[in-house]
């Protein structure tokens, strides 16, 4: 059937092609040529839009921040007062809260993320179980931040509060826990919630890094008599070190900008204190809480200045991570 019908089809289409005036092998004109040209231009145009979005974003935020930049200059960075009534604004407590809560998150997320990556990439478990496990951990990334915050407030904090009260009463002599009768909303809780949220990033990228390490390295180590964990510590972790550093940087970038969950559990009190059991405040949180009701002028300007600082901070961390990945890729190839 197919054999008998095909030649006939081909013949008819050949005929129509030969009749077509625009049938030209080295076309520099005609419908198709102009179609192709405009298609290429269109693709370039949209690519330029993508690039423009980032630059426009920087410019717009800088422009919004100008009143505050003119008023406070760089002194904004180490000013400690935030008084909306008297129009005095300083960023230091927010910068401090953002950096410390992200640091706590990284501290928890790196070892746990590496453990998950090892369990899901090495042959501890049958492969079907491994993929399910990796899949389930990645689901955490899909849960909206605001729902994690809701869970944090109503489920996680009641669970964590007794432990934190015990830390505050027995380990008072350590400055990190020097808070009398801490309430559940504080820097430590926010750090742990952040750690949960950046865990999928850390685990997924580390897993990719580990999978990319050639099998020969593992086999060689095993052949020399290394156990699985000796292979992990002496071969895999050193070989994947720079990849894991960039995974941690990408996770850090995410932690710095995370807003809703942190706003709901950190206590929103702009202060700088050594104790992790005291409430704190972060840049994204103050933006989320104050931006909608802020008065145009200096208040919006100060908040935009904060956004600009956060933007610069995450940009630096992300560019660092991307460059590191590129550099490692070039070194390996």
């Amino acid at each position: 059937m197919a054999n008998s019908s095909e030649p006939a089809d081909r013949n008819s289409s050949d005929d129509s092609n030969l009749d077509d005036e625009s049938f030209n092998l080295t076309a520099i004109g005609g419908t198709n040529f102009w179609f192709d040209q405009s298609f290429t231009r269109l693709v370039y145009f949209f690519a330029v839009i993508t690039v423009a979005v980032l630059f426009l974003m920087s410019w717009v935020i800088l422009h919004e921040a100008l009143p505050a930049i003119k008023q406070f200059g760089l002194g904004f960075l180490w000013g400690q007062d935030w008084d909306t009534g008297n129009k005095i604004f300083g960023a230091l407590p927010y910068i401090y809260g953002t950096l410390v809560s992200s640091a706590i998150a990284i501290l928890f997320a790196v070892p746990i993320g590496i453990a998950i990556a090892l369990v899901t990439s090495e042959n501890f478990l049958p492969s079907s179980l491994r993929t399910i496990l990796a899949f389930v951990v990645e689901l955490i990334a899909a849960i909206p931040s605001v729902i994690i915050g809701l869970w944090g407030i109503f489920v996680f904090i009641p669970f964590l509060e007794p432990l934190q009260k015990w830390l505050g009463s027995t380990l008072k002599w350590i400055p990190l826990f020097n808070t009398e009768d801490p309430s559940g909303t504080n820097m430590l809780t926010a750090g742990i919630i952040l750690a949960i949220m950046i865990l999928p990033t850390m685990a997924a990228i580390t897993r990719d890094v580990l999978m990319a390490i050639p099998k020969e390295l593992r086999s060689a180590s095993m052949a020399l008599g290394g156990t699985r964990w000796e292979t992990v510590f002496r071969v895999l972790l050193p070989a994947g070190f720079s990849g894991m550093v960039s995974a941690a940087m990408l996770a850090l970038g995410r932690a710095l900008g995370e807003t809703m969950a942190v706003t709901m559990v950190i206590g929103n009190s702009a202060q700088i204190s050594a104790s992790l059991l005291n409430p704190a405040y972060t840049i994204p949180s103050v933006l989320a809480n104050e931006f909608a009701e802020a008065e145009p002028g200096l208040h919006i300007g100060a908040l935009s200045y904060l956004a600009l600082i956060l933007f610069g901070l995450t940009l630096a961390v992300n560019i660092g991570a991307v460059l590191l990945v590129k550099w490692v890729g070039r070194k390996n190839s």
């Binding site: 690519a47 993508t50 979005v53 919004e64 996680f156 931006f291 992300n318």
Partner: protein, 293 residues
């Protein structure tokens, strides 16, 4: 060297070679196994706990009339509508730009320094905090139109969706073998014909997955909507007026002393979470099936 065959070392060496691992190495292995599995288990607890608590606390309040009532009447109909409207606006803005930029990276990208730069910018765009995107949308739309609106919220969501769509489009276009491009070119296909009739058609499942992932991510975003779309307790009056959305409903009402509103928050969480989990599980399954084939 000569000593090793004749001397009494011979026996102990043979013993060492034949014996199983020394005790400390066995202990190390088991201890590390325990630590690794323990930490992995620890990571799963929050996820299971979140799903469990939301289901238990929210399911009792779930009634069908909530879907058609506004927040002011203890429903979440206006928030669902608002979320859909803003995600659609975001999709209309970001899908064409995202797919075209993805095509640029995959098809025009080999050895093109501009493509390297665009890819770099896209990666950076992925890492921009959503709240900063909100400040951007505030400056571009809210300040210009002089009011919080669904359009401003949709614009913010578009910026968040854009890099996701670009990167997944590029990935799925790269999966199409080069031989298909060559075949199309050999038959006289122009770049436009090759790209659209052959490559994009073959990559449609992958691109759809990317769009679904972007939609799932945008539907759960709260931060950029707080001060672009704001919120409204009743049905929104139009695209240029404040608009409610599911995530902002949760954020605005979670501290409400009214127990009815407290219940509403948990029920909304069920609806939002099941919406997002369905979409993202679906899209991930599609990806996995394609990888297996």
């Amino acid at each position: 060297m000569s000593g090793y065959i004749q001397s009494e070392n011979d026996e102990s060496l043979a013993k060492e070679l034949c014996s199983p691992l020394p005790t400390e190495r066995v202990i190390f292995t088991y201890a590390m196994n325990a630590i690794a599995f323990g930490l992995t288990g620890l990571a799963l607890i929050p996820l299971l706990s979140i799903l469990w608590e939301i289901l238990i606390r929210g399911i009792s309040g779930l009634k069908s009339e909530m879907f058609v009532k506004a927040v002011i009447d203890n429903g979440f109909g206006n928030a669902i509508l608002g979320t859909i409207i803003m995600v659609v606006i975001g999709a209309i803005l970001s899908i064409p730009t995202g797919i075209m930029t993805g095509i640029f990276l995959a098809e025009f990208g080999q050895g093109n320094p501009i493509a390297g730069f665009v890819r770099f910018i896209t990666n950076i765009l992925t890492g921009v905090p959503s709240i900063v995107v909100g400040v951007f949308a505030y400056g571009v739309i809210v300040l210009v139109t002089k009011g919080f609106s669904a359009i401003a919220g949709g614009f913010a969501l578009a910026v968040i969706m854009l890099p996701v769509i670009i990167l997944t489009t590029e990935e799925s276009l790269k999966l199409i073998p080069t031989s298909q491009r060559l075949a199309s070119a050999a038959l006289g296909g122009t770049r436009f014909q090759t790209t659209f009739r052959i490559i994009v058609t073959a990559a449609i499942p992958g691109i759809t997955t990317g769009i679904l992932l972007a939609v799932a991510r945008a539907a759960g975003e709260t931060a950029p909507l707080i001060f672009t779309a704001l919120f409204s307790l009743d049905w929104s009056e139009g695209l240029l007026s404040p608009t409610a959305s599911l995530p902002v409903l949760i954020f605005n009402l979670y501290n409400d002393p009214d127990p009815q509103k407290g219940q509403l928050v948990w029920t909304t969480s069920i609806v939002l979470l099941s919406l997002i989990l369905c979409v993202s599980i679906l899209s991930r399954l599609v990806i996995r099936q394609r990888r297996l084939n």
